[in-house]
Symmetry: C3
C-alpha cells in the first residue's frame, strides 16, 4: 500500500492482501486479544448514501478494537444541504477523528477526498467506482472455504453494473484463479474490465448459462439483477428468473461448493439453500467485522 | 425464561420477574458496581420504526454496563428498502453484535426473528403485539411505590389498542393485584385480553368513570387516547376530555397514590400534577435504564 | 458561571472564559492526559434540527474524555411527532444521561429547558438566540492566533441574522478589542446588539466596505450571506459578490491576518485562500473538540 488511504483494491499487492487476511484470521480466532488494541481511536463514519451492512460492520470493527466512532449522520441533516463541498466537509471531519470511512454516490469522490485529508481515509463505496473493503472480505471468505490459489470461481448475475464484481475479479488476478462469468448478454462484464483482466493475464471465460460450468466450480458468487436495469418488467422477470438458484439447481455441484452473495438478496438464492452447507453468504457478511478490524489495524 | 430471547412478558414467571427487578434495584442503588460488567458487549439496535424513549434507554443501559451499541439506522437508510427480508437482516446483524434489540411494526415479527438468530433477541415492540421491557419497568415502578402484592391499580384511557396495557395487566396476574379498567365503552379492553385475565384468575372490574373507584387506588396508570381512533373530531374531544386528570381530580385520592404513564403524554395529565408527589411518570421513564440493564445482564 | 447550565455566552465572565480556554489549551497540548477523565459520563445529544459540525464535535469531545453519548435521533423519529412538549422530553432524557446538549429551532428554548432539568444543559443553538460553545471556540481561535487583548477584528457578511456574530461581539467586550463591522446596509448589526455593545463600552465602527479597514485587521471573521434573505436573486448576487474575498483581496492585509469563518462556506472565501497562511477556518472548526472538552470538563 503506497499510502495511508485505501481508495481502490488495485492499490493492494498480493502481499498487502495476504497480510490483511492473515491478521483477520488472527482476529477471528481470538478477538479478545485485540479488544484494547486501538482504545483511543475515534473513527468518523461519513455515509453520504445509505448502507446498513458496511456502516454497521465498520462501526462494530472500531468498537471491537476498543475504539469509538462519530457519525456524520444522514445528508439531510448535514452541512451538505447548505451547499458545502465534499472537500470542506472532509477537512472539517479530519479534525474530529483519527480516520475516516467515506461512502459517497459519486465515482472518484473518495480519491478526491483522500487528497485533502491527512488522516487515513477508507473508501466504503464511491458510486459505480470502488469498495475495497468489500473485496477484502470476499477474498477472506473465499480463502477460508476454497483457498485463493488453484481456485475455480463462477461469478453470476449483473456483471455490468456491479462494482463488487469488478473489484473482486481484478483482485483475483493476484492469485491462481480461473474466473467464469455467467450473465445475460445485456449484463456482460464491461469491455474495460475484460481488457484489464486480459492485461493482468487472468484466466477468464464467459457464459450465458450456469449449467455446463457448475460442476467445476469451487465458489459461486451470485449478485442481484436489478429491476431498474430493464425498461420492460416482463423482460426483467424472464432474465432474472434464469439466474436464480435453488437447492435443486445444485444437484450437479461439487459437495463443497461455496455460495457467496454480497447481500441484500431478493430472489436470486432460494431460501432452501440457506440450510445447506453450500450457503456461505451470511458467514461472508459476518467476515466484514474481522476483515475491517484488520484493515483499521493496518491503517491506524 | 425458557430461552435466551425475550419476546413477550408471558414468558416471564413470577420468579423471573422478581429476579430481574431485584437486580434492577441493586443497579439503581449502586450503578458504579456494574459499570464494567459487560465491557466487551456490543448490542445491536434495530429499530424499524421510531422510538425515542425505548431506544435511548437501551442505548444508555448497554453503555452503563460498560458495553457498546451499533445502530442499524432508520429503515430509509437500510437494506430493507432494497427488499431484504427481516430474517436475512437479522441473520446478518447477529454476526455484528452479541445481542439484538428489535422494534418492528408487524405483530409477530420479533417471534419470527428470534427463530433465526443465535444471539439473545429482545422484543422492543412488535406493532400491536408485545413490549416486555416496558412491562418490566412498569412493574419495577409499581413495586417501588406501592408494592406488587395487595395492590389496587386503576388502568385508564385507551385499553383497546394499547399493547402496554395488555402486557401489564397480564403480568400483574402473577401477583395479588386488583385491577380496575376505566375507559369509554368504545375503548374497552379487548375480549381476548379479558378472557386471558379471567383464565389466570385475575381480580378485574371495568368502569366507564374514574370518580367512584379513585379513592381505593394505590396506582393510577393513565394512557393516551389517540385522535386517530375516532372518525369525528368532536367525538374525540368529548371522550378524551372525560379521561383527563388534573390536581383537582385527585382531591379524593389516597395521599400516596402513584400516577404512571408510559409517555409521551399530550393532554391526559395536566401539568399541575407534575409538581405533586403523585407524579411518578418521569421516574417511571428513568427506571427504563436500570431495568433494561438488569434485563441485559440476565440475557448476556 | 452562576449555575451548571450554559445557555448564553453572556453568563460567562472574563474569568470563566479564560479558565475554559486555558483548560482547552491544556487539552490540545496533551489530549492523552484527559482520555479517562470522564470515563463514566453519558452525554445526551438532543438535536431538534440538523447540525453536522456541532453534533460531531460534542460527540467527539465526550468520547475523547473517555465518556459516551446517547443520541435522541432526528425529530422525525422522536416523540415530538406525537405531540410531546420539549419540557417533557427533557425531563425524560435527564434520567438517561449525566448532561444534555440541546439544539432547538426556537429562540428561548434552551433557557426554558434548563429550568426543567437538574443535569447540566448546554445550549447548542436555539434558533436566532445563542450558541455559546461556538463563541468559546471562536474566542479560543482568536486567542491562539492574534490574542484577545489589543485586538483589531473585522466581522463581515450577514450581521443582522447571524447569532454567531452577536454572541462573539458581545463576548469580545470582556477584552480590549476594536470591532469593525462590515456589511451591506440591509444586513447591519441589529440596533439591540449595537445598543448592548455601546452599553458595555465596546470600541465599535461600522463599514459598508472592507477595503479601507483591511490593513488594520488582525482577524477577519467572515460569515455567509444567505440567499433566502433577499427577495430578488439579482439583488442577492450583487450584494453577496461584494463581500466575497480571494487571495488578491488580501494584498493589503497584514502578513499574519487570520481569516475565520463558522462554516459551512459557499462562495464567501475563494479556495485560493485555503492554501495561504491566512486560512484559519478549518483550524477553527477543529478547535471545537478541545474547547467542548474543556466546557464539558467544567460542567461535569
Amino acid at each position: 500500500m503506497p499510502q495511508d488511504h485505501l481508495v481502490t483494491a488495485k492499490e493492494l499487492s498480493r502481499d498487502d492482501i495476504e497480510a490483511i487476511l492473515d491478521r483477520a484470521v488472527e482476529i477471528a480466532d481470538d478477538p479478545s486479544a485485540f479488544r484494547e488494541r486501538h482504545a483511543d481511536t475515534l473513527l468518523a463514519l461519513c455515509f453520504f448514501e445509505p448502507s446498513t451492512r458496511t456502516k454497521m460492520s465498520f462501526d462494530a470493527a472500531a468498537k471491537r478494537l476498543g475504539g469509538e466512532t462519530v457519525d456524520m449522520g444522514s445528508v439531510e441533516s448535514s452541512s451538505v444541504k447548505k451547499g458545502e463541498s465534499l472537500a470542506d466537509t472532509m477537512r472539517v471531519v479530519e479534525g474530529y477523528a483519527d480516520a475516516i470511512v467515506l461512502r459517497h454516490p459519486s465515482e472518484g469522490s473518495a480519491k478526491m477526498a483522500s487528497e485533502f485529508v491527512d488522516v487515513p481515509l477508507i473508501n466504503a463505496g464511491d458510486g459505480a467506482g470502488h469498495h475495497p473493503s468489500q473485496t477484502l472480505l470476499d477474498l477472506f471468505t473465499i480463502r477460508e472455504s476454497a483457498g485463493l490459489d488453484d481456485l475455480t470461481i463462477g461469478i453470476m448475475g449483473d456483471l455490468k453494473y456491479g462494482r463488487t464484481v469488478h473489484s473482486l475479479s481484478t483482485a483475483l488476478t493476484n492469485f491462481d484463479a480461473r474466473q467464469h462469468f455467467i450473465s445475460p448478454e445485456s449484463l456482460r462484464l464491461p469491455r474495460s474490465v475484460r481488457y484489464d483482466l486480459h492485461e493482468a493475464g487472468a484466466q477468464v471465460r464467459e457464459h450465458t448459462d450456469l449449467e455446463a460450468i457448475l460442476p467445476e466450480l469451487d465458489v459461486l458468487y451470485v449478485t442481484r439483477i436489478q429491476r431498474e436495469r430493464f425498461p420492460d418488467e416482463n423482460e426483467y422477470r424472464k432474465v432474472a428468473g434464469e439466474y436464480q438458484i435453488d437447492a435443486e439447481t445444485l444437484d450437479d455441484a461439487k459437495a463443497d461448493l461455496s455460495i457467496m452473495h454480497p447481500l441484500p438478496r431478493v430472489d436470486e438464492i432460494a431460501p432452501d439453500i440457506d440450510e445447506t452447507t453450500h450457503a456461505n453468504y451470511f458467514e461472508q457478511a459476518h467476515n466484514g467485522v474481522p476483515v475491517r478490524m484488520a484493515l483499521l489495524d493496518r491503517l491506524l
